[in-house]
């Protein structure tokens, strides 16, 4: 605040003074201890996927808080048909589902908020997994990154559990399948199984609803925040255009692919075949394998998978982090990705992946086919990636020995070539056509999701504008 007297007094001065005053006091808090970088030039979003995950977490928190006002965490009573009459579902049956349905159909803005919440939950799981693999391939789990890595893995597992408790709360048949499987696996865990199952799931279904509600809206988010407090690195990158684009894409997805409430779970009606959410079909595939114990399939195998990632930093002791220097770990990561992909696809398919699923007898997967595809896929991915990385390393060494320049891309200001401009414009035109069709569909659907789509498009457009402005500033 140097030399205030010489300056002309402006209208906004009191406000600026207040902001300055606040800012100076905030320096005594933790808030300004965080170093948040707002990059002025474009950097790859892969580097700050964790921050994007945090932003989606905040979106989830806000939309979830709004949904709290209308959700009933109560299962109610589903009396069976009186003898000799046809079954009429009671009003009190599955009140949790009824409340979700009313959020979707009756509550003003309910469908929009629920759609954002649903698509953001998918985005959060996806971003967290992408974040993990990006850091893994970048070698950012060793060299004093160990605690960040381990807390990150734990946070990822907790995120998936949070998503699990969330989609169970809808109490549709998909949620019911997840509840049944979760309860069975917990019951079959050794020694403490039965007690643990009673603590997590309660005894009655009303217990279950209120317990999962407590887990989903309070206990697990608090645990996540606590782990985040450790997981948060000191230097954060907050790129407003990319954050806005991610938010916009979530909203656009909600507008284009509105999520339905699903089939109501009613214990007095025969249930239909259903699949878990996409992040669980991999576990579901294991559970469906012929002759494989559900506890081993659904708990031990995923636990081993997570454990391997958890202990990676304690086995990869090398001091090199470049991908070409770590052929084993890179190949392992790619093989893990391949495994996830194969198993996830299996989870969606019938026993014979080539035919459509018709009845429940086709759900049991043949173990030789399953394990065979898994082994071959993994071995192929591992072998080819390992060979490629070794070949590349050898090539670099060769070029070094011959004192030739390495074929690395030089960093230079990014200027669009003619071809790129045409392909970009063409892509945008295709996108435009797609959006037109989608909007037309929304129109037929009484524009229920149009507002969501539009807000999303506004955010994406803002992101694009901010990005172009940034690039233009750079090139001058």
């Amino acid at each position: 605040m140097g030399a205030p007297s010489s300056k002309k007094k402006g209208v906004l001065d009191p406000i600026i003074d207040l902001l300055k005053w606040t800012w100076e006091r905030l320096e005594r808090t933790l808030l300004l201890g965080l170093k948040i970088v707002f990059p002025s030039r474009f950097i790859s979003p892969m580097g700050f996927l964790g921050m994007l995950t945090l932003i989606v977490f905040i979106i989830l928190g806000v939309t979830g808080a709004l949904l709290l006002f209308h959700f009933t965490p109560f299962f109610g009573n589903c009396p069976p048909a009186v003898n000799g009459t046809t079954y009429v579902p009671a009003n009190t049956c599955n009140q949790a589902f009824n409340s979700v349905q009313s959020i979707n159909n009756d509550v003003s803005w309910g469908q929009i908020v629920r759609n954002i919440h649903y698509h953001a939950s998918n985005a959060m799981v996806l971003l967290a997994v992408m974040h993990m693999f990006y850091q893994y391939f970048g070698g950012r789990y060793k060299l004093r990154y160990e605690i960040l890595w381990v807390t990150g893995i734990v946070l990822g597992v907790v995120t998936v559990i949070e998503a699990y408790t969330g989609y169970d709360l809808i109490f549709n048949i998909r949620g019911q399948l997840a509840i049944n499987i979760g309860q069975t696996l917990t019951f079959y865990s050794p020694v403490i199984g039965a007690n643990l199952a009673q603590i997590i799931f309660g005894f009655s279904f009303n217990d279950l609803a209120i317990r999962f509600y407590a887990f989903h809206v309070f206990i697990i988010p608090i645990i996540m925040l606590a782990i985040m407090a450790v997981h948060l690195p000191r230097n954060l990158v907050l790129d407003i255009p990319v954050a806005s684009a991610i938010t916009g894409i979530i909203l656009v997805m909600g507008g284009l692919f509105p999520v339905d409430v699903g089939v109501k779970y009613d214990p007095n009606l025969a249930t239909q075949i259903t699949f878990p959410e996409w992040y669980f079909t991999s576990l579901y595939a294991f559970i469906r394998v012929h002759g494989l114990n559900p506890f081993i399939a659904g708990a031990i195998i995923p636990a081993i998978f997570v454990l391997i990632f958890l202990i990676v930093p304690f086995f990869d002791r090398g001091r090199k982090i470049a991908m070409v220097d770590r052929p084993f770990w890179i190949a392992l990561g790619v093989a893990a990705l391949g495994q996830i992909a194969i198993v996830t696809v299996w989870g969606f398919r019938a026993a014979n992946p080539l035919i459509a699923l018709q009845n429940e007898n086709q759900l049991v997967i043949d173990p030789t086919l399953f394990a065979g595809s898994l082994l071959i896929g993994t071995a192929l991915a591992y072998g080819s990636v390992y060979a490629y990385v070794r070949w590349r390393r050898a090539k670099i060494d060769q070029l070094r020995a011959a004192r030739k320049p390495l074929p690395f891309r030089k960093l230079q200001p990014y200027i669009l070539s003619k071809g790129e401009v045409y392909s970009l414009l063409g892509g945008l035109l295709v996108l435009q056509g797609f959006l037109d069709v989608a909007v037309f569909r929304a129109l037929l659907d009484n524009l229920n999701n149009f507002a969501l789509l539009e807000i999303g498009m506004v955010l994406v457009a803002f992101a694009a504008a901010a990005h172009i402005y940034r690039v233009a500033n750079q090139t001058r």
Binding site: N83, L363, V364
Partner: protein, 237 residues
């Protein structure tokens, strides 16, 4: 008891300094050696209070457990006359509209806990058809001699594989299959007569039979549930 140690007042040094303790033999006799030194007493007190605190925290963990509602008393769940009549009406009609329609020989009831508690206490009671498709007589193996209960079976419907609720079905084409209880989720099948798994994951994994509801019948033909052998979701062991 290491009553000498506190007098040297240090245990960080190597054991050699403890040797000079022999130079003061007259001291212990006038100063009456206490039963327990002050330090030991404090250590013990701290340890005991930590154990007590941990125990009370552990005990208060019981708040995590759910409240278990009181189970229902023995209860009339079906009437033999009406159950048998529906069966006798369609006995000769070997089609999916007649005998092979499960609603003509079975009905559901909730017992031990009513429908407001948990779907896992949904049970099925069935008039066991006299013969299966190949002509073998079907008899309830739990009450083989009772004139009424030998024709009635009752089981909990929670599949022991992954807890979906099973339904009575007629497996296969009419005339070639068998009366079963089938899980709609993963296709486990149980024999209707004794609920032993015969197909699907429950059979492949060698899981338990479904819990059996114990029945009694009074002189007027009212069938009551009196107990359950086994636990829903775990099965009859």
């Amino acid at each position: 008891m290491d009553e000498k140690k506190p007098s040297t007042s240090t245990n960080s040094t190597p054991p050699t300094p403890t040797q000079p303790a022999a130079s003061q033999p007259p001291n212990p006799t006038p100063v009456k050696s206490p039963l327990i030194s002050r330090r030991r007493f404090l250590q013990g007190a701290v340890a005991a209070s930590v154990v007590l605190a941990a125990a009370s925290v552990g005990a208060s963990g019981q708040i995590l457990g759910p409240q278990i509602p009181t189970p229902l008393p023995a209860q009339v769940i079906a009437d033999w006359a009406s159950l048998d009549k529906k069966y006798q009406d369609v006995k000769g009609d070997l089609t999916t509209k007649g005998l092979y329609n499960e609603s003509n020989y079975s009905q559901f009831f909730y017992w031990q806990y009513d429908s407001s508690v948990s779907p896992y206490y949904k049970n099925v009671i069935a008039r066991l058809p006299d013969v299966d498709s190949s002509g073998n007589p079907l008899v309830n193996p739990f009450y083989p001699t009772d004139p009424i209960l030998s024709h009635v079976v009752a089981f909990n419907t929670t599949c022991v594989h992954l807890r979906c609720l099973v339904n009575p079905i007629y497996a296969g084409n009419p005339g070639s299959g068998e009366f079963r209880l089938q899980c709609p989720c993963h296709g486990s099948q149980y024999r209707l007569a004794d609920a032993v798994p015969v197909a699907g994951p429950a059979f492949d994994l060698g899981l338990n039979p479904l819990p059996q509801v114990e029945l009694t019948v009074d002189s007027s033909g009212k069938i009551s549930a009196t107990g359950m052998r086994g636990t829903p979701g775990i099965g009859r062991t």
